[in-house]
Amino acid sequence: MYNNDIIRIENLHVTTATQVILKDINLKIPRNRITVILGPSGCGKTTLLKCLNRLTDLHPQLQVSGKVWIDDEDIFQPNVDVIAVRKKMGLLSQRPYPLPMSIYQNVAYGLKMQGIADKHTIRERVQHYLEEVGLWKEVKDRLHSPASKLSIGQQQRLCLARGLAVQPEIILADEPTSALDPISSKKIEEKFLELKSDYTLVLVTHILRQAKRLADHVIFMYLGEVIEQGTPQEIFEHPQTTILREYLKSGH
């Protein structure tokens, strides 16, 4: 059965001992579309993304309940192959965290972990994805120096290349352009629009104009809850709640 919604979330709650981080989230995320998540800082956007590939497992203080289906597989079932779930998804985290290795190895790492051993293939893909994010020219002469020596913006593009190189089905991008100049941002946005035909993208951003340019579906969150969701037209032109209206007004 072909389902149009690649991710379905039902009654998702995430709490710590003292705080409710996500409250009763119900969402459907359409395949081959760009879904944009908006919301003020601290409302739980990053946490929501982390639930989608079970990185919440790493944080024992987070209690997760509810259901998340990805390709009709409930990923919080105990017998799920977490590695396989994570391989489907590429997470581009909010801050760039280069792995403690060279620039080249940073991109090659994921490929090796996915079982690609052929050196030639790896080299081609590394170059290809570094070109995609517009980093190749800047680093081609120092591929084997530490990635940590790059500037923050360069690191962010490197992390982008690293995440794209493993060719996940779903790309979870947490403010992927927050440290980039307008020209690099634009390149990345174009890249995303192009990726849409083969991938599903979930994008967190604080830039409203970027959201408008990219979104097929918009989700607005506030204090751990989904307040509104719909097409960009519905959200940006006809906001229903006062919170969203306020948010959009101050965003301009």
Binding site: L58, L91, Y97, Y109, M113, Q114
Partner: protein, 294 residues
């Protein structure tokens, strides 16, 4: 000129002075030891002192090689035992264990670190020495009194593990969790993440922690002295007695009678120990420096 600027200059000068004093300390210690060893060094050739194995102060024989070899053996053995054990424990405790186990380990470490050296020595004499002489050595086809360099290394390892472990746990705890998230979301398993990312990120710290642990172990005297046998010979296997430099100094200082050059020889032994530690530290710094550039 205004006041702030003067204060600025003055405080900078003070800090510089304090730093210089710090740097002078080891140097002055080394020079002091060298001056004290001069009487011996004027009488004997340096090369023959170091190469010779005969130790008999009453007959004027001050060969040092057995003590140097004994020191290296005991330290090397303890390193081989302490480094892997503490690395495994620190990885397990920080990456797999539940929080209560972490707390327990911390308590255990504090207790172990607080036990006086002499108690470790007694434990070594009562437990390790008989075990080696009755069980371990016969198993490998050797006969041993149990007072041997292996006992020394083992006691030293047990003493340095809490110290090394403490440093390593801190190192693993300071690695940002996001780094693990990155590796996992690229499709690595948990173990691959530990192997390729965490150990790599921590390697400098791991080497430094082992280096510090060893430098400390080199100076641990009492416990080792009680179990190592204190026979001035070059041990042929780990079940034979040895005589590390710290034990030599501690055993004989104050009992030199009026044997000529005896005091000077002990100072020379201290100087060698001092140099070994310096050398060891330089090597570990050099390794860290090398790693830094990769």
């Amino acid at each position: 000129m205004n006041r702030e600027k003067w204060i600025e200059i003055l405080s900078e000068k003070w800090m510089l002075l304090a730093t210089l004093l710090m740097c002078m300390l080891p140097l002055s210690m080394g020079i002091g030891l060298l001056i004290e060893s001069m009487p011996l060094l004027q009488q004997y050739r340096l090369g023959s002192l170091i190469r010779n194995s005969a130790w008999s102060p009453a007959e004027g024989k001050f060969g040092m090689i057995s003590f140097i070899v004994g020191t290296l053996w005991v330290t090397g053995l303890s390193l081989c035992m302490a480094a892997p054990v503490s690395l495994l424990v620190s990885i397990y405790v920080t990456q797999y264990a539940k929080p209560w186990l972490m707390r327990t380990i911390h308590i255990v470490m504090d207790i172990l670190a607080g036990i006086p050296s002499v108690v470790y020595g007694v434990w070594g004499v009562l437990v390790i020495v008989p075990w080696i002489s009755q069980k371990l050595a016969p198993t490998f086809g050797y006969s041993s009194s149990g007072y041997c360099i292996l006992s020394g290394g083992l006691v030293l390892a047990v003493m340095s593990i809490p110290y090394i472990l403490h440093l390593q746990i801190e190192i693993f705890r300071t690695i940002p969790i996001e780094l693990k998230e990155v590796s996992l979301s690229l499709g690595a398993t948990y173990w691959e993440t530990i192997k390729h990312v965490l150990l790599r990120q921590a390697r400098r710290g791991i080497i430094a922690s082992v280096g510090l642990g060893i430098s400390k172990a080199l100076g641990e005297t009492i416990a080792v002295l009680m179990v190592v046998g204190n026979v001035p010979q070059i041990p042929e296997n780990i079940f034979q007695a040895g005589y590390p430099l710290p034990a030599l100094i501690a055993n004989n200082y104050g009992e030199m009678m009026s044997v000529p050059h005896y005091l000077s020889a002990l100072m020379f032994a201290s100087l060698i120990l001092f140099l070994i530690i310096c050398l060891f530290n330089s090597v570990s710094h050099w390794i860290i420096y090398k790693i830094n550039r990769i």
